[in-house]
Amino acid sequence: MSGSQTVILGEMPSLSKLYVNAAAAAARRRVLGTHGGTELPAYTHEVRGVKADVANLTAYQHLIGESASDVLPAGFIHALAFPLAMSVMNRDDFPLPLLGMIHLSNKVVQSAPVLFTQALDIRAQVENLRGHRAGTQLDVVAEVRAAGREEVRWRGVSTYLAKGVFLPGIDKPSVPVTPPPPFSVPDPTALWQLGVDTGRAYAAVSGDFNPIHLSVLTAKALGMRRSLAHGMYLASRALADVGAVRGDSFRWDVAFEAPVFLPARVALDISTVQADGGAWQRSGYVAWNPLSGRRHFSGSVAALP
């Protein structure tokens, strides 16, 4: 997080206010047009001394299927840092419309465990604005440290797509994307039954009340045919399914494809790779719609080198 100016916020921004702001900004843009910027804001937002709420942590762990230990699940830290990441994208000098952005992928490196009792310094910034065949994408990077310490314990990179937004001077990728090999459905190792309230339940523990996840009506208001499951809810459940074998430090990646409209049944396959000595190396996971065979997401949890 170098080369940018740090803005220290007094407290974690409120997500609901950020969503209202984003909606207002979207309306303003519709009337006044975009502000014409083609560069990402060179500002890092930081909040110091953040502490997790233990009741919220327990509720999150129970919902995701993690045992309620004192260690913050990697997905919980994402949710903890999310309002700060949103605040960077909510800045007036942010060139893309925040509402309607699509979460393409997420990469987390958990270098050391974070306990709920620890005060945390959290930083977020945006970088790597680049073209995508369907619009413009960028990375939102969040870093979590024990308060006052330099060592990064958790680093997350979330890649978002502003679909249909093409900024002047930012080209589509010049190399044509080779189509991925067709997905051949494996035998599932698990089957999730996701009720229609899955989005609301995750919103309650993560604080992410994005309307597309809450109900059919709020989702339709934003152009979705039904409400859909949060991507990070799905990825966090896959991480929980991998289990304690991952240890306290690991790399956790996910790439999202077809959204999961609620209610849903999701089939999951987890395959584990062991080293020669039998030590766990990596668990790959892939999830799909058992009726259509469409892939919802895939990723892996892997030991750090």
Partner: protein
Amino acid sequence: MSVNGPSVPRPQPAPAPAAGTSAVEAAAGKKEHGGAASSQLRRAVVVGGNRIPFARTGGAYTKSSNQDMLTAALDGLIARFGLQDERIGEVAAGAVLKHSRDFNLTREAVLGSALSAETPAYDLQQACATGLETVLGLANKIKLGQIDSAIAGGVDSASDAPIAVSEGLREVLLDLNRAKTVSRKLQVLSRLRPKDLAPDAPNTGEPRTGLSMGEHQALTTAQWKITREAQDELAFNSHRHLAAAYDAGFFDDLLTPYRGLSRDSNLRADTSLEKLATLKPVFGKNLGAAATMTAGNSTPLTDGASTVLLASEEWADAHDLPKLATIVDGEAAAVDFVHGKDGLLMAPAFAVPRLLARHNLTLADFDFFEVHEAFAGTVLSTLAAWEDEEFGRTRLGLDGAFGSIDRTKLNVNGSSLAAGHPFAATGGRIVASLAKMLHAQGQVNGRPARGLVSICAAGGQGVVAILEAL
């Protein structure tokens, strides 16, 4: 019971083992004489333990489930002894207040822990004796050579207790599920009454008497004429000893902090006999002037979990782990409390004399007594029964009183009155602590230091055990 000739000659040797046990004999390294069957067995040792601090109900663990707490205690044990990915011979634990969804509680906790997923596990339930019984059962498997390592444990949450639907609603729901037609379904539903909607919460009442455990103990306390002052003093000492043990760092390698607690939240380091004397009786109030049991000298409802790592000596050595004490032997007893022949919690008064007779021991041969403090009155009634000539003659079949204990050896690092008592977790707390004390004591008068564990349980039961230092 130990291989190298313990202290205790056996009064009545069991029949010599049949041919074919030579492998066991060889393992025990003792072929020269037949002796008791148990002398052919190898030893089961306590390697160490780990628990989470116990929390008063409605406190720090309110939202934590039994599975959460058992997993937390287990993960602390795994971290302490480097058991990540280890396939343990067997894990046994249990809970007294248990949700029906937790039918595989211990196995689920193992699956959520860092142990190898190939570690088998089973649940056990024997009221407050659950934890100690898991220790004895697993120790026996180790002695027999069936397994080389084991984790015993227990957990209970009075906060996250299961609530059942009423019997009326349950029957309607089951019949509704069986009803095929709409008219039949409506007919079944019409049986539902508003009172059926009231939930059925667990309580500490005995099913056959309707009396709570405290009311039962109040009868026993009055029967043995235990004074209010004696009960308050026992409670005071429990708090004083537990606080001193924390201050001395005794629990540093027995406990992992959880949910912000690093000490048992029931502990009142600053309590005094004067403060305890101000509390009003809560049990036995219908006994009039004889009501002596208060919230101060009774154990509160508590949440918590404990685990104990057991092993054969070979396994402990191969893993370079400590050997604190051996599990020598155990005994269960039960009393006919239903019509008042004996007090509900008096079974240990019978179990201990039987166990000691089997080993030719007296109370004077012990260096530590861990008598679970369900209520101060329970401990004192048990001691009074042992000191009573008539009880010894008529109930225990002895020539006189069973004996008395040196009170300075009783619950020296505090017990349930101060720490709290998450039912199934108490056995593991006591065994791990006692093993550590015995190991620190080492030899006494040329023999290994010896400790007695006594735990009373609902249903008029009790389980007791002998441990010896290594």
